[in-house]
Amino acid sequence: MKLRILLILIVFSKLIFSSSISGYVYDKDTNKTVPFCNVFIMNGTMGDIGDESGYFALEGLKEGKYTLIVNIIGYSSDTQTVTLGKDDFRRVDFTIRHISIEMKGQEITGERADFTKTISISKDVYKKEEFDFSPQLIEPDIMRVFQLLPSVVASSDFSSALYVRGGSPDQNLILYDNSPIMNPFHLGGVLSTFETNSISEAEFYAGGFPQSYPNRLSSVIDIKSINPTKDDFHGVVDASILAVNLFFESKIYDGLSFYVSGRRTYFDKILPIIGFTFPYYFYDLNGKLDYLISDNIRTSFTYFNGTDILKLSIEDTVDIVSLQWGNKLYALNYSQILSSASSFNFNIYSSSYHNYFDVIQIFKAHSLIEEYGAKADYSIESGSFNGKFGIDFLKDSFDYFVSIADTFSMFDIKRSPYTLSAYLDGSYNYNSQIIGQFGVRFDKYQFNEGIIMNPQVGLKFFFTKSLAMTLSLAKYSQYITSIRQEDNSFASIFGEMWLPVESLYSPQECIHAISGIEYYITDDLFISGEFYKKDYPNILYTTIAQLIINRENPENSYISSNARSSGFEVMLKSTYGKAMGWIGYSYSRTEFLKDSYYVLPFYDKTHNINMTLTLPIFWKTHFSVSGNYGSGLPYTAVVGKYRNYYYDSRTDSIKPGGWSEISSGYNESRFPAYKRVDISLSKKFKISSFSLKVNLSIINVFNFRNVYFYYYDHDSTPSKRYEFTMLPIVPSVGVSGEF
């Protein structure tokens, strides 16, 4: 107890009796704040990363003269010199110019400040520019960028879903402006719903994430939308072979501004002209109203809507098949800087995912999943101590209804549990060599007795200023699960079908143990290696078949199992300069218990090598290349066949029938190794205040035939095996105009 009191006194005395510098970073052209800038002291190790509102604070400074540098990718650096007195507080604002891809290369080094100050286990941060210039599948897509990380496995070219260190996509928490998006995918997972014009930055945690993130076992993707311009007007028009995207942002009056962004595919409108019917389209509509009430108070309202619609009809009158599915989000965020060392954030949201499937008004499958949440946290930051304490409340609602002719109900599920939580995340820089991290979360889940505690500890030890070792141990719980498919042949076009963990079962749990080495070879070249082990003592899932069998008591349809995954990853990353990108290798092994045996899930990938690189070449053109080479994914192979015979009672004789297939053990075979190289060229033209970017991408430039699944002709002997392959070579052109 004495030690705790002493620690608290040290922390608060530093807050009260030391000098500090804080302020905002602004974009010189748009006059809007630039989030997540690196602000650090020249020739020192102290620094800070600004928050999403562009605010930064350096605490615990002694009196003296300091030169501050602000640095962020895509912007020029800026420096300012400040002289501090004793117990002094200074407000310093930076104004930096967006130089985007025309930059000639920069001398680092904001991430070095982050490296020396924080424990960022299994964490990667990506800025808008990195999404814009990476090779793209028709449209820029942040999920496709994440799929190139060594910790992530993609199940196929047709899916943007992320399988992170052995975790399935339903174990990933995807946040947009602090609020969850349930199934952020279009076209059955081919594209994500996030269009990149409205994204400022995305943080990706492959494991060991802070306890402030609720209700997921595997990973976190925390996407922040931009803060709209405080200037007059800014617009972007993007056109690809798939969709058109319009983006506008403007101020309404001082402090109040907005952006709105809309995207829609147009195949359904274009193809009928040449005689084809394509009755499918999707659209995204999102926007944000941002109000800077004062220098210290910001509030914003975010709206997000991504919807897919498929309608097969006869002469536009009778709908044969009607499908509609998508996400909607309404979120209100409030943040207040209480002092140079503390802030308060409040977030309230309503997020939903709907899915309506009707066949000639006879078969109806409707589902609506809603989550209402409120979250408040208080953050404190000093030179040595950072902490966040918060509470959140989630109310989930699950409503599934499947019927035939409105008379026969296949299943009808309605559940609405709540979760009430409190959490604490903190880190303490013990000295220049040791940083400690801790966290704890307490959850009260309605369908579970008692309170569930999830702790977390972490440590970072510096051997030198450039070399550090990290350790992390954490436990997580998840109170929702999903209807799972057990193979990869036909991914559900609807994404995850969520269900709550029923009171008959314990919540899903996962324990992460991570150990890593981080090393800055040079200021702009970084290598990291991480070993991880994840134990899932309890996982739950169900299947459509189980739900139908147990339709009277759907709570009995859950399959309880356990799983484990382990592996290591190495990543070499060029963080700044002319070449931006990384190369990563991962070795992993994932198993789950099925019918008393540990088997591989269909997304287990033993070896996986990814690389992505963007660099300026000539005439201010950027060249990007990404490649992936990995073990083939497991599948249950057909290894043999035999002839069926049957008794024909009409002729009273035995007759030969068709063939039966003999399968290998569950997922005991692997497809051939996966190979793909994508390239992209981007050229930006600027005419006065108007700029035009042309992007040429070629997916699978070597036209590798990557197998998605096999099918057979058994009437031939030997049987003929045919391959259904993934994407062949696909060129695409995109044009983006900005004004």
């Binding site: 190369i583 090598i609 290894v639 009672s649 002729t651 290998s664 005991e668 692997r670 030997p718």
Partner: protein, 244 residues
């Protein structure tokens, strides 16, 4: 062009690619066995063939199993050359098959011994229906058959259409030994000449018919039995409820 940065990435990428593995699968050699013994048939036989590996590039002969030792109730069954059943080895059963008996199958093949058994169902005859009978039936008509020493029955009404036999109606039954007119009436013409078949199946045969399952744990196929009784040339005429 700034290839200096690109080069180390590509070197690591190419070297890394060389260690990526590619698993393969091996299939064990197993047998596919099929036999349905019946007391009514003049001949009974056991069909035995190998399963084929999908990836094996072989001709049809891989299926044929000629050198198995096959016994029914300890009596050796002889291999017979035939082209009637595709690739199979056909082993003729010399033992008499009688309803109610238990028949044991034993196959010794390359050191592997496969055994199974079946209880031969006794014949189940339609009650009150004989060959060439004319039957006026309605929804309330019920056809009965007598109980066998098994629980599984298949009933079919087989007629000729365009010179080919076809089932106008077929039903399975577990334990029940009757069939109501309201079930088959809608499938039959106003009047039709049919053979009414009642097939009593043993458990293995029923397992295959109902669930498509095999009666062998380590191999594939079915060793089962049945008894069949037929009322031939029965003229079924629907009763017209509005007829005077």
């Amino acid at each position: 062009m700034n290839f200096k940065r690109l080069l180390p990435f590509l070197i690591i990428f190419v070297v890394g690619c060389s260690i990526v593995d590619d698993d393969d699968t091996i299939i064990k050699n197993k047998l596919n066995i099929f036999s349905l013994l019946s007391p009514e048939k003049g001949e009974n036989f056991i069909l035995i063939d190998s399963i084929a590996s999908i990836s094996t590039t072989v001709n049809d002969s891989i299926f044929t199993v000629k050198d198995a030792d096959v016994y029914i109730n300890s009596a050796l069954c002889l291999f017979e050359e035939t082209e009637s059943y595709f690739y199979n080895g056909l082993y003729r059963v010399g033992t008499e098959i009688r309803g109610g008996d238990v028949c044991s199958l034993k196959i010794v093949y390359r050191g592997d011994t496969i055994i199974s058994q079946t209880r031969i169902p006794k014949e189940s005859k339609m009650l009150g229906i004989s060959d060439s009978q004319i039957i006026h039936y309605s929804d309330s008509t019920i056809f009965f058959w007598n109980k066998s020493n098994t629980s599984f029955y298949k009933v079919s009404f087989t007629g000729m259409q365009d010179s080919f036999p076809m089932d106008y109606y077929m039903m399975y039954s577990i334990d029940d030994t009757f069939c109501a007119g309201q079930l088959f009436k809608i499938f039959l013409p106003e009047s039709v000449m049919v053979d009414i078949n009642v097939i009593a199946m043993d458990t293995n045969f029923a397992k295959m018919e109902f669930f498509g399952g095999s009666s062998f744990e380590d191999h594939f196929g079915t060793f089962g039995s049945y008894s069949k009784s037929v009322a031939r040339g029965v003229l079924l005429i629907k009763d017209n409820p509005f007829k005077d």
